[in-house]
Amino acid sequence: MSTSAWVMFFIGAGGLWGGLIFFIIYALRSSRRSDGSGWGDEGG
């Protein structure tokens, strides 16, 4: 693959997958902080 293609690959993967991991970690940390419950028992 060309260098510019690699650069765009890392921008896409970093932006999307990196962003997703960031928000999942944020959600895990904030749910623990707020009420001690994990992801499994926040619902009904």
């Binding site: 997703l20 928000f23 959600a27 904030s30 749910s31 499994g40 028992d41």
Partner: protein, 496 residues
Amino acid sequence: MEQAREQWGTRVGFLLAAIGSAIGLGNIWRYPYVAYENGGGAFLIPYFIALATAGIPILILEYALGHSTRGSGPKAYRSIRERWEWLGWWQLAVSFVIATYYMVILGWALSYTYFAIGTQWGEDTDAFFFESYLGVGEEFWSLGGIQLSVLVPVLIMWAAVYFVLLRGVRRGIELASRILMPVLVIMLIAIVIRGVTLPGAAEGLNVLLTPDFSALLDGTVWIAAYGQVFFTLSIAFAIMIAYSSYLPRRTDLSNNGFIAALSNCSFEFLAALGVFAVLGFLAVQQNVAVDEVATSGIGLAFIAFPSIINQFPALNSLFGVLFYGSLVFAGFTSAISILEAIISGVRDKFGLSRTGAVNLVCGAAFLVSLIYTTGGGIGFLDIVDHFINNYGLVLSGLVQVLLVGWIARELPRLRDHINRVSDVYVGAWWTISLRFITPLILGAATAYNIYEELSAAYGDYPVSALLTLGGGVALGAVIIGFVLSMPRWRGTETTG
């Protein structure tokens, strides 16, 4: 006495159902081609901007509408302004139309999962699909009767969807999503790994990812980016309004929006790598440029991919089953969500039991879907799909943001609601996106669609078909929206 509203069992369950709704056939067969056609790697720039200024804001808006009113589309809009209930029914009418042909495409994918075993489609994949499988005739209006080979898989898919919906939110939709979504991701990763290790994969990935920054000066590229984000996130179907109405009172709406949107987009970015790696392989095998084999939609899935699978060096059947199985799984969770949005609306308004509403909605949608199982069905499907997306979804999405942002001026109240229950704070960018950027882009997209329509008739279809099936169905959805808003509200009242 007011019946307690159904509720998701867990946050993960809701997220997987919401992601399952967003991830559909378009993630696999639409995004890769749209990205390739609109600047390759450079497309990521308008795509990210569209995601931040339209996709995620509208998604969070729909979560807030459903969660704050604890109701489906019609109930949510009715709670904002009573006379705007019709907008909810319009969106559900659009969803109904889409569900009827979406289920038939799922039936095709199920058939091809079976045909992949031993590559039963033979060498001429075009003739196999149109003539042997679909039984397409010469004349547009000659339906040619129901094709049993299409009807049987469609019936199987309807039975599976009906079973899941009948079991309800927690034991049906949530359970199905918990099982299917992880399996789907594993299948896609297997497809991508196989794809990128094929000879010629780098050629395909180069075409997909090499940026053409001059494309960013073209307005249509930006409209394509906003359109892709709009279609891929299941926006304006009123699905997310219904799904978020099943959330508990305390829930992180905004972060759920970020996670669902980014999961969906991560999935389609990964799918694009797999699709273009495999197209690169095909181009090398045929000794042509990737541009000559790049395609999308039905042509990609049911004509190009069988050809590619035929030429695989090994394990052809396994790859075929993985690819078509992933289409079935991706589409299944989306189909469930489209139908659940309608079921939720019918239950809210008419006070029906789940069984009654599922029977009514699935029964009616099944009967309509039979028309697409005929020999002439694919022509009908193509026209209806084009018009209902461009003039149903996009237009109702535009009306939705105009209503909330300008007519009812509900954004400050909804923002307060989001920030009261969420951990991730929603700031001015959300309001600005929804009040200014989204209406502007959706308005431009609608104007562009109309311009295109008037410049050249869609496809090679007779004008009578475009007017009756295309224009008729798109207009019919609006009329049905008004008609269904007229009867007296018999279910649980609005809370807004």
